[in-house]
């Protein structure tokens, strides 16, 4: 299975994301923000970083890059898309996912090994996990506070679209401690923590993040 990893100007974690894809057993394909071309991939990862310098709003400029036209169209026809951190912000700006990510309520950049609970193990990116499984994955962000209106939050909860939730103290002020959400179909997932930094025992807090990448390779999701 070929999984594309998009590089925007200012992406930081594209190399780690591609490595995580390979460790999970997939073929990582480099995609470029300026191309109207997904190179025939089966899934796409939008990695973390500071695309376009976070100018205007995080993800606001990237959303209109040529490759995103293709990603949005592919996502709408069911291709699995995972947005990590800045990728999550891009998915929200693209309206592929509801809500928005604003500056952390405590105003400081956060960088921790974060406990999470997988709240929905039936999305394209979480099927390798058990429902309710607790994992530890790196969290690092300055603008990771997930916000949406109450109606949207209730809908996300009701439809099982909260994919992951922070355990312990809310690290960034996200409403209802939401760490990740999906679209209605479950093929598009946005996640603030970084599973690609938790795929090897040598560095990082363990291998709990690998499941996001093995999930999509299995290609079985409800």
């Amino acid at each position: 299975m070929r999984i594309g990893v998009v590089t925007f100007p200012g992406s930081l974690d594209d190399v780690d994301a591609a490595r995580a894809v390979r460790l999970a057993g997939g073929e990582a394909v480099a995609l470029w923000h300026g191309d109207h071309d997904l190179r025939g991939v089966d899934a796409v990862v939008l990695p973390g970083g500071f695309s376009y310098g976070d100018y205007l709003r995080c993800g606001a400029i990237s959303r209109f890059s040529p490759v995103m036209t293709e990603v949005v169209a592919a996502a709408e026809s069911g291709m699995p898309v995972l947005g990590i951190c800045n990728g999550f912000q891009i998915l929200c700006e693209s309206h592929l996912l509801p809500g928005a990510l604003i500056r952390n309520d405590h105003r400081k950049f956060v960088c921790v090994d974060q406990r999470l609970r997988i709240e929905n193990a039936s999305t394209a990116w979480t099927s390798s996990y058990e429902q309710g499984e607790e994992v530890t994955i790196v969290l690092k962000n300055g603008e990771g506070s997930f916000v949406a209106d109450t109606e949207t939050l209730d809908r996300l909860e009701g439809e099982g679209r909260v994919v992951a939730r922070y355990l312990g103290e809310d690290p960034n002020g996200s409403l209802r401690a939401i760490a990740g959400i999906s679209n209605a179909r479950g093929n598009v997932v946005g996640l603030m923590p970084h599973p690609e930094h938790a795929v090897e025992d040598l560095c990082g807090p363990g291998t709990d993040g690998l499941g996001f990448f093995t999930s999509v390779l299995q290609g079985v999701f409800v």
Binding site: L56, R57, A60, F64, C92, E93, P98, G99, A100, I102, R103, N104, D105, H106, R107, S145, V147, A148, D149, G173
Partner: protein
């Protein structure tokens, strides 16, 4: 040439940590009596030709599409 100003503010219900930081700094500098600070963005657009109703509608579309995120922000368009 005409100038249009687009002001973008976080919606009232959205937390504004930057505004809070500014608000916290004011008393430390000896400025008292400010009860709240909300921080926003101001865009000054120089546009060609006359400011017709169509042109203003186009600017509103720009504000809605790119300059603001309607999920968390409100905007106003003002000819200047």
């Amino acid at each position: 040439m005409a100038r249009v100003v687009v002001d973008v503010m976080l919606k009232p219900e959205i937390l504004d940590p930057q505004g809070k930081a500014v608000h916290g700094a004011l008393p430390r500098l000896g400025f008292t009596g400010v009860t709240e600070v909300r921080q926003g963005k101001r865009f000054e657009l120089e546009v060609e030709g006359d400011l017709t109703e169509e042109r203003l509608a186009e600017v509103r579309q720009m504000a809605e599409t790119l300059l603001s995120n309607p999920v968390i922000e409100d905007f106003t368009v003002t000819p200047a």
